[in-house]
Amino acid sequence: MFRWERSIPLRGSAAALCNNLSVLQLPARNLTYFGVVHGPSAQLLSAAPEGVPLAQRQLHAKEGAGVSPPLITQVHWCVLPFRVLLVLTSHRGIQMYESNGYTMVYWHALDSGDASPVQAVFARGIAASGHFICVGTWSGRVLVFDIPAKGPNIVLSEELAGHQTPITDIATEPAQGQDCVADMVTADDSGLLCVWRSGPEFTLLTRIPGFGVPCPSVQLWQGIIAAGYGNGQVHLYEAATGNLHVQINAHARAICALDLAPEVGKLLSAGEDTFVHIWKLSRSPESGYIEVEHCHGECVSDTQLCGARFCDSSGSSFAVTGYDLAEIRRFSSV
């Protein structure tokens, strides 16, 4: 059902992180941008359809004190109403660039204030929500940045408290237009999920407790929260109530990435067990309860996956990265 397409070579192999692939589709320009973290550097590249690589660029975390160059935790494109920014998080802080990665427009240094010496200090978890960009940190705080339509006048507008352990991932979806609708979910290393409503001030709506394993990746679609856990399970929750409706024993190792194709409600899960699975989310016509169906599974031999993304909003193609793998593997449906 899916065939292996031409891989895109990387200058540096992918690091063993979670959510280690970001994809920006630019259909108007017939281009796709890919972003992968190597370690102390991140690689951005653009490719034409068929995966022909065009240009590539490396970014580094801003230096600081320390024995070795600071490590990058994540790189992610944020699509806002009037612009696209590339956000890079590291063990030093948060860097924001124009979408092609050429101009840095903002730098936020992390405050390691109350960190004990044994605690690693870093930023991780990036998502756009309306004209805000939300970034998670090691302490559990989520920083909310207000982004102007253009220019570098970015302002830290709020710090959300809700988590006590390092943030792993943040998911958002456009507000549905009604009042009490959740449009952001944050996840952390303890597996706790916080459900928020965005606004000039963000409001915490619900908390969904963890169960002893991290939740490295989370997605939100039409009020359905999809959460991937360190024990290989995918859970689907009703965002409005926080109730668990579906539990999938999806992978034999930790899940490293989830992605959504919003047009069709397809969910992509990738695990350290070398497998990628595609699921179809839906609601039962009678009860309205969340349902799921397994569509496809793919094994990327001997590769501990670390990132996975759909490459188009209809979910007919996807790409994955793996630890130590110096290429982006692409698949498309036949």
């Binding site: 540096g12 550097s41 991290p214 034999a252 067990d273």
Partner: protein, 361 residues
């Protein structure tokens, strides 16, 4: 200046083997050294680790030439990479460490002082790491994997056992027991608003997994269950490693060498503390010494040294090149205490003896 005797015999004796193992293990588990290792710190640079490793390997009457030292380090690195990569759950890196300690204790059964040192280390590990969360272990494992990134040296034993492919990458099996705490993939359960299960579906996940039998023990004594980290050489095995085609990504390896000041002050300080903690005993009188050769002949060893690919050459920190005068003098003093003053004419042994040495005595 202590000259070494020329050793006229050509075999290691049991006494020699025990001596070397005891010396190395007691140096490694020395309290001051362990104290330094346990301090919260960033991931060691490859250079720093290699330097420390070389010191440890020379903590006794056994010596290695550059080529054999490189090979030993390659073996150690790839074996450890294998263990960390294949850990079913992040917390299992601690079980792997406990397996290492259990095996080490087996080598020094007759030395109660050293046994005590190892047990003490065990207690410290439990105290510091025993209570970490799954998320913290995941960060530890991910950070360790950064150290091993892009290392694909082929190890004969791994190739023969089919745990490593010809391209140097490890085999990740899609069968066998799932980690403790994970369910066998293939089941979807759906619930209503009251949390009652209303439907169950199975799906084909592609692997061939079975449930985990039981959890490994984190106690001082216990069944670890996990085999990773146990003695690879408990059956006689060859120690060949293969360089060719190991690392095609030079960009990733040059990152370390293009750092503006390779001897960053912090790294020097760290090394000085670590070396200071290593109490390597100076020989009080003339000592027999052994040079360990991990190749079949001396010529082969020389050849290996000459033909080692550039991108795989290990750099040991050069104390003279530092700009910190006081620190460099201190380091030179510490390192100088361990210098061999003249190159001994010694018996050499084939790589097999390393294996024999690693066997349970």
């Amino acid at each position: 200046m202590q000259p070494f005797w020329t050793f006229t015999g050509d075999e290691w004796t049991e006494v020699d083997r025990k001596r070397v193992l005891n010396d190395i293990i007691s140096t490694m588990f020395n309290r001051k050294f362990m104290e330094e290792l346990f301090k919260p710190q960033e991931l060691y640079s490859k250079k720093a680790l290699r330097t420390v490793y070389e010191r440890l390997a020379h903590a006794s009457i056994m010596k290695l030439n550059q080529a054999s030292m490189d090979k030993l380090y390659d073996l150690m690195t790839m074996a450890f990479k294998y263990q960390v990569l294949l850990c079913p759950r992040p917390k299992d890196v601690l079980l792997v460490t406990f397996n290492h300690l259990d095996t080490i204790k087996g080598f020094i059964q007759d030395s109660p002082t050293i046994l005590q040192q190892v047990d003490e280390t065990f207690r410290q590990l439990t105290e510091i790491y025993g209570g970490l969360s799954a998320g913290e272990f995941q960060l530890i494992r991910q950070t360790l994997l950064i150290f091993f990134q892009d290392l694909h040296i082929r190890v004969s034993m791994f190739l023969k056992d089919k745990v490593q492919n010809n391209n140097g990458r490890f085999v990740l099996p899609v069968s066998g027991p799932v980690p403790w705490g994970t369910e066998v993939p293939g089941l979807i359960r759906m619930f209503n608003n009251k949390g009652e299960e209303v439907k169950r579906i199975e799906f084909k996940h592609g692997g061939n997994y079975v449930p985990a039998p039981k959890e490994g023990s984190f106690e001082l004594y216990g069944d670890r269950v996990l085999k990773l980290g146990t003695n690879m050489y408990s059956v006689n095995r060859p120690v060949e490693t293969h360089m060719s085609g190991s690392s095609k990504n030079l960009a990733s390896r040059t990152q370390e060498s293009i750092a503006p000041n390779p001897l960053a002050k912090e790294e020097l300080n760290f090394l000085a503390r670590l070396m200071g903690g290593m109490e390597i005993k100076k020989p009080s009188g003339p000592e027999p010494g052994f040079r360990l050769n991990l190749f079949t002949t001396d010529e082969e060893e020389e050849q290996a040294a000459l033909t080692r690919p550039e991108e795989l050459s290990y750099e040991v920190i050069n104390i003279q090149a530092t700009q910190d005068q006081q620190r460099s003098e201190e380091l030179a003093r510490i390192m100088g205490e361990f210098e061999i003053m003249e190159q001994p004419r010694l018996s050499t042994s084939k790589g097999d003896d390393l294996l024999a040495m690693m066997d349970e005595l």
